[in-house]
Symmetry: C2
Subunit: 211 residues, 2 copies
Amino acid sequence: MTGLRERKKQRTREALIRAAIELFIERGYEQTTVDEIAAAVDVSQRTFFRYFATKEDVAFALHDMIEQRFFAAVREQPPGVPPSQAMRIAIESTWNGIGASIEDTVPVRVYMRMWQTIEQTPALVAVLLRRSIDSSERLAAEIARREGVDLETDPRPRVVVAAYTGVMQAAARHWGTNAEVTVDAARERTMAYLDQLGPSLSEDWGTGRKD
Amino acid sequence: MTGLRERKKQRTREALIRAAIELFIERGYEQTTVDEIAAAVDVSQRTFFRYFATKEDVAFALHDMIEQRFFAAVREQPPGVPPSQAMRIAIESTWNGIGASIEDTVPVRVYMRMWQTIEQTPALVAVLLRRSIDSSERLAAEIARREGVDLETDPRPRVVVAAYTGVMQAAARHWGTNAEVTVDAARERTMAYLDQLGPSLSEDWGTGRKD
DNA sequence: AAGCTAATGTCAGCAGCTGACAAATGACAA
DNA sequence: TTGTCATTTGTCAGCTGCTGACATTAGCTT
C-alpha cells in the first residue's frame, strides 16, 4: 500500500516513541537525554530532532493520538445535545476507547504510567497546559458551530470549555499523583469531578461552615 | 534601616527585572539572551542566575507581586461570603489595586505590555499555566478552610477554583492578544467572563441553534 | 586595620536545539 | 539493471540556557 520509505519512517517514529517513553518512565524525563533515546533506536541525535521538534513532543505523542479521538467523539454528538452534555459524553467515550487509540504503539498501562510521569514533571505539566489551550480553542470553535453562535462575540463557548477543561485538569492532577492508576479509576474520578461543577458554583454549599 | 549590602542587592534585582522586561517587550522573549540582560545591568551572566533560577522567572517577577495581593484580598473576605463570590470580589479588588502592587518597580503600562508579551510567547504561556496550578492549590486550601470542609475528601474547593481560574485564563488570553490594553479594559473583560460562568453551564443557551 | 562572610566574577562543561553540507538510501525511468 | 533524482540520515560546528568549582571582591564586625 505505502512505499518502503513511508513504512520505515513510521517504524522509526514508533521506535523513538517507545524508547523515549520507556526511558522517561524508568529514570524520569529530565534524567533522560535525547542522545540516549537516539542511541536506543540506533539513530543520530539530529534524526531524533527531525521527527520531534522538541524532547517534549515525544512525551506527548500518545496524548496526541487520544486527543484526536476525543474531538471525533464531540463531532459525533447529534445536534440538540447541549454543550456541557456533549462534552461530558465525549469525555466518557474517550476514556472507554482509550485502548483502541494507542494499543498499536504501546499497551494502555504504559500510557497511564507515562501520564503519571508527566504529572510529576513540572516542565511537562507546563507543556501539557499550554497544549490544552490550543485544544480549548478548537473545542470552543466546535461548540460555537454546533450552537450556531458567533465565537468572537459570544463568550459562552470559551467559558464552558474553560470551566470544563479546568475541572478536568484538576481531576487529572489528582489521580495523576497517586500510585498505580487504572483507566477505570481515572475515568471515574474525572466524571465525579465534572458532576460537582454545578453544585460547586451554587451560593450555599450547605455544610457546617465554621465562622 | 537595612545595610548597604541589602540595598545593593535589592537594586540589582530591580535593575535586572527592569532591563529584562524592557528587552522582552522590545525585541521578544526568545530573542533576548540572558547575556544581554546581564550586560545591560553590567553584571555577569552567572550573577543573573543567582537572582533568578531561570530566564522565565524574571519574566514573572511582576506577576508574582500582584498575585500576592490577590491572596491577601481573598483572606480579607469575611466568613459567610460564599466561595465563588469571595473569589469574584478578590479578583476585582486586585485589578483595582494593581498600581499599588508594582508601581515602585515599573509603571502599570509596562506591566500590561509585558503581559501581552507573555501571552504571545508559547513558552511563557506554558510557565504561566504551570504556576497557576500552584496558586490554584493554595487557593483551594484557603476556600476549604473558609468553608470548613476537608480538602482531601470534598472535591468542591478544587472544582470551583478550577472553574474560576479556567475562565479567568480564557479571559486573559482574549485581551492579552489584542493591541494596547488598559487595566480598565482588562478588568471589565475578566468580570464579564466570570458573569457568564453560570449561564454557560445551563442546559439551554436559548439561541437559534442550526440543526 | 584585620579578618570574616556574603556577593560576584571567571571558567569549564553539559544538554537541548539548529544550520549547513556530505553521505546513504529508497523511488522511478530508461 | 542501471543511472538519475529526491528524500532521509549522519556529521560537525555552534548558539543558548544553566550549573559546579574556585578565585576575587566588597561589605560588615571587632
